[in-house]
């Protein structure tokens, strides 16, 4: 019993163990990457195989169900793509390549645990496993001593504060409800939140850590500096996987608080609106591509929250769909950033000029990913926005949706800037960018995935609905 339901975790732990032994030797990067990639592919296959498993483990603190398995698949697919796109680890200190991969694996392991945790302490523990691994890898960047150190300190400081606040909130909740199991909390919390202001405060405080991971207002301040200071490979993981985990936990916690809690919804709505507006307006003036993506991710967090806070089937499934799309499109952008910067430096708009001549594939990937994030059909980003808005209007959040679409129009400007940089300009011809065939295949994969899931979203949406149905 334990084996079948716990198989993805076992496989991932085995992978981390193998990578630990690899850190002891002195292997070439090619070998390290080859082994990592192969093993993460196996782990992904195992995760797919365990889709549909059900079970409760470890004194009922660890629940394996459709929702957790879906998110494990998303997280492990993301991990595989991140390993694949950072094929040479050019931004990382050469002697730390094996360690780097190991820590990414540990971080993903924490997130995989997180997806199944249904007890407050288990949640905190898994979250910290995932966070600490990431704190460690940020200063692994090659040649950017001060910047990456600053990013690391900021990430740790904000992370520590967020964890502290979350613990504080958990303390309140335990005091109020005398339990730490989510399924038991779901019985008592709705009435507490409705009658006691302390209940609202406690539930908001518990969210803080996940808002921090999701880079959402009011815990968004770390995002631009960390994105900019971390290596391109590292940013690609910080920008995606922890956010997927955070969305799942936000879904679980909001579902615990119940659907019809006005004060709670108003707090979340304020966060969502501030996040969208602040993120989009600040992104308009950025020149560093990673910084821009940081602000755009703050804005995207607002849209996801719009789906989560509906606390009904359609809206929550929309949030799950949205985060899948966000993962793909963001990784598509980081794929381009990684390949445009052969020495792992940061990429500005000037570096993108003439990209369509240097590498039509990269330019096309950036175009598709940028228009996808802007929500232009027929991409996965459009369907994501569409279902999120549908869910929100279904709940009567007209004003929020109107603010959302105005924001989408503002955001269009900087996504256009990305597309324009790739397709226009460049008087001085730079050398074409040569990529190995595997890397090219990855670009084609991103383009096709972003467009095809946008055209045929049914299966994904159905899976998301089936998964979130367990929460309600």
């Amino acid at each position: 019993m334990l084996n079948t339901v716990f198989l993805p975790e076992m496989a991932l732990m085995f992978m981390v163990l193998v990578m630990f032994f690899m850190t002891l030797g002195n292997l070439r990067t090619g070998v390290i990457q080859g082994v990592t990639l192969a093993m993460s592919a196996v782990v992904l296959v195992v995760a797919f195989a365990s889709y549909g498993a059900n079970g409760l483990l470890f004194y009922d603190a660890y629940q394996v169900d459709m929702l957790s398995q879906l998110f494990k698949i998303i997280i492990l697919s993301g991990l595989f793509l991140i390993y694949a796109l950072g094929r040479g680890l050019v931004g990382i200190e050469p002697k730390l390549h094996a360690e780097y991969n190991m820590f990414l694996g540990i971080s993903a392991l924490g997130l995989v645990f997180l997806s199944s945790s249904v007890e407050l302490l288990a949640i905190l523990l898994s979250l910290e496993i995932s966070s600490y691994a990431l704190y460690v890898v940020i200063p692994f960047r090659q040649g950017q001593g001060r910047m990456s150190a600053e990013a690391c300190i900021k990430y740790i400081m904000f992370g520590a504060i967020a964890t502290g606040l979350t613990l504080y909130g958990m303390g309140y909740i335990f005091g109020l409800a005398h339990t730490t199991y989510l399924n038991e909390l779901a019985v008592v919390i709705p009435s507490l939140v409705a009658t006691q202001p302390l209940g609202v405060i406690a539930m908001v405080l518990v969210l803080i850590c996940f808002l921090y991971k999701l880079a959402m207002f009011p815990m968004h301040f770390w995002t631009p500096d960390v994105y900019q200071g971390a290596a391109n490979e590292t940013t690609s993981i910080i920008a995606t996987l922890p956010k997927v985990g955070a969305v799942l936990l936000l879904l679980r916690l909001v579902a615990v608080a119940g659907a019809d809690i006005t004060q709670y919804t108003w707090v979340l709505a304020t966060f969502a609106v501030m996040s969208m507006t602040f993120g989009n307006l600040t992104a308009l003036v950025q020149t560093d591509l990673k910084r821009l993506l940081a602000y755009s991710s703050i804005a995207h967090a607002g849209y996801v929250m719009l789906g989560i806070m509906t606390a009904d089937l359609l809206g929550m499934a929309a949030a799950v769909f949205y985060i899948i799309g966000y993962l793909l499109m963001n990784l598509g952008c980081f794929y381009v950033i990684y390949n445009v910067a052969p020495e792992g430096q940061n990429v500005t708009f000037d570096d993108l000029k003439g990209l369509s001549r240097r590498s039509p594939l990269l330019a096309m990937t950036l175009l598709v990913a940028a228009f996808g994030m802007a929500g232009i059909p027929p991409t996965i980003g459009f369907v994501g926005k569409f279902v999120v808005f549908t869910g929100a209007i279904n709940k009567g959040f007209y004003a929020l949706v109107i603010i959302g679409v105005i924001n989408a129009a503002i955001a269009m400007f900087y996504y256009l800037k990305m597309a324009r940089a790739a397709y226009c300009g460049a008087d001085d011809e730079k050398d074409p960018i040569l990529m190995p065939i595997g890397s090219k295949a990855l670009g084609v994969f991103f383009i096709l995935a972003i467009i095809l899931i946008g055209v045929l979203p049914q299966e994904f949406m159905a899976a998301a609905k089936e998964a979130v149905a367990l929460l309600l």
């Binding site: 108003w266 369509s356 175009l367 228009f371 232009i376 059909p377 027929p378 459009f382 569409f386 279902v387 808005f389 549908t390 209007i393 279904n394 007209y398 004003a399 949706v401 109107i402 679409v405 105005i406 989408a408 129009a409 269009m412 400007f413 256009l416 597309a419 324009r420 397709y423 226009c424 045929l456 979203p457 049914q458 949406m461 159905a462 609905k465």
Partner: protein, 529 residues
């Protein structure tokens, strides 16, 4: 659902093929090598698409207002969203316009586009698929997907192959139209939540409260008015037109601007009839301002392309005027005017591109006195200029006449106010014609001192222009077939609008300030927290 439509009885899926052929053509074009091959390939694909679309005309059943050639497939059952395409008398003509204009766009880019020919042709073919998609979608989401998806290729056409200020023009075009149509998405979702369907004919059959209709109408009309473009929202058009390459201008003028009018006819009128009635005065005034201001601004231009761009604003004013007269003459005239504008202004932009290739200037003064050097060119210029100013016997005359006829029938004052617009059109077009053909020339070709050696139209250019000339005179002298085709659909549309406007007539006074009331409730609910 079936009571609104007639399934496709041809033994092949004609409408889906119209969508798929250009897309497949574009994908194949990505792998072709050699510029000449690219051009011939794109020409072949657009011609095949045009050929495929011919049965829409020949097999069309004029006696019914139902949607025809319909294809229906499950697509996104979670949201009750199906893939459903079909045409009626209103959209069929616009589909044909698209498929027949696109080969001309490829032809007029033959020598004009010098760089990145492969990408250009790919983008053009994708553009064609998206434009056809807009006209054949019978589902609001499908419509929106094509409507927005179209912006990307058009943006690329202007941004990569445009003129000196392409950056400014392309971003202005994109943001303006995107900001306008994003509210369309909100109203599509609001309609869905209200009715549980995205299927347009079913949305038309529902009745909504007056204030809901007003919100939907405003959201939709904003997007369509920008696309159209109507008077206060027209500023993106001259910029985009002037900077776009010839093919881009032709697509913009011939097809993109029609989408605004089509949107009004497909969404605003039948879905929100009461709100339409309520807003008629405002929209008529805006149309009149468009007509006068467009014409007046065109009068002052020295850049030929800008002149034609502003004249488009005026012509589209006639279209919205016709639509919001809400009578048979007006709407039929507006439809015909859309087709005419597609033919005539498309041809004028081809003519401008043609002379720009030779003299590299769009200024009138640099392109004057062409009469003796380019006799074929000025003949076509004359024909299309006369058509543009609605000279009797040409196509635009019929359209404008019908619109004015409808106006005098319903609101004589509106008709009277629109007349100066027609006079202005004559003024600026004749001025253009005079400068470009004669100016102060004495009527003799001075081969000695006039050292300009500008080649006249070659066979390729002649074919494009001659093809459009056929339509100028065909529609001008014998418009009955076109009017017959749209007859039933327009009558049905008008009956829908009138049926919808009867009930709220009583409510109207009571709900007069429903909008303000709604906004007040919102503000209160926000303030109370």
């Amino acid at each position: 659902m079936e009571k609104y439509l007639i399934l496709n009885t041809l033994n092949y899926p004609i409408l889906s093929m119209l969508l798929i052929v250009p897309v497949v053509g574009a994908i194949i074009a990505m792998f072709l090598r050699g510029d000449t091959l690219q051009k011939y390939w794109s020409l072949a694909v657009t011609l095949i698409t045009a050929l495929i679309s011919v049965p829409l005309w020949t097999c069309f059943d004029k006696s019914t207002a139902k949607y025809q050639f319909v294809e229906l497939r499950r697509w996104f059952p979670d949201l009750n969203l199906d893939y459903v395409v079909g045409v009626d008398g209103i959209s069929m003509l616009l589909v044909l316009l698209t498929t027949f204009v696109m080969p001309l766009c490829v032809l007029c880019s033959w020598n004009y586009i010098k760089i990145r020919i492969k990408e250009f042709m790919v983008v053009m073919l994708l553009m064609e698929a998206a434009m056809i998609g807009v006209f054949i979608s019978m589902n609001t989401v499908l419509f929106y997907i094509f409507w927005e998806g179209m912006l990307v290729p058009m943006y690329l056409i202007i941004a990569i192959w445009g003129g000196d200020r392409k950056d400014y023009a392309s971003i202005k075009f994109f943001l303006y139209t995107f900001a306008g149509s994003i509210f369309l998405l909100v109203s599509i979702i609001a309609l869905y939540i209200n009715t549980g369907t995205f299927f347009i004919p079913e949305l038309m059959a529902h009745t909504y409260s007056f204030s809901f209709q007003m919100w939907v109408f405003i959201a939709c009309a904003l997007g369509f008015a920008i696309k159209m473009p109507m008077f206060p929202f027209h500023t993106w058009l001259p910029a985009a037109h002037v900077q776009a390459p010839t093919a881009g201008s032709v697509i913009l003028a011939s097809i993109l601007l029609k989408m605004g009018g089509y949107g009004f006819l497909r969404f605003c009128l039948p879905i929100t009839p009461a709100a339409t009635y309520y807003c008629v005065p405002i929209l008529l005034v805006m149309s009149l301002i468009s007509i006068i201001v467009g014409g007046y601004l065109a009068l002052g231009q020295t850049d030929i392309k800008k002149l034609i761009a502003y004249s488009s604003v005026g012509h589209m004013g006639f279209v919205t005027l016709g639509i919001f007269l809400l009578n048979t003459g007006g709407i039929k005239g507006a439809m015909l005017q859309m087709i005419n504008h597609g033919v005539t202004t498309g041809a004028l932009f081809i003519l401008i591109g043609l002379i720009y290739e030779r003299t590299h200037s769009r200024e009138i003064s640099d392109n004057s006195k062409l009469g003796m050097i380019m006799p074929i060119y000025v003949t076509f210029l004359g024909i299309f200029s006369l058509s543009s100013l609605a000279f009797p016997g040409t196509n635009s005359f019929v359209g404008e006449f019908l619109v004015l006829f409808g106006a005098f029938e319903k609101y004589p004052l509106v008709g009277a106010l629109a007349i100066p617009g027609a006079i202005l059109a004559a003024a600026y077009m004749l001025r253009l014609l005079q400068k470009m053909v004669w100016d102060d020339s004495d009527g003799h070709a001075h081969h000695g001192d006039d050292s300009r050696s500008i080649a006249d139209c070659n066979a390729r250019e002649f074919v494009q222009l001659a093809f459009l000339t056929v339509f100028v005179f065909w529609i001008g002298l014998h418009p009955t077939p076109l009017l017959d085709v749209m007859d039933t659909s327009v009558a049905h549309l008008i009956s829908q609008v009138e049926a919808g406007s009867v009930i709220p007539e009583v409510v109207r006074t009571g709900e007069h300030h429903a909008l303000l009331h709604d906004a007040g409730v919102w503000i209160k609910s926000i303030v109370s927290f």
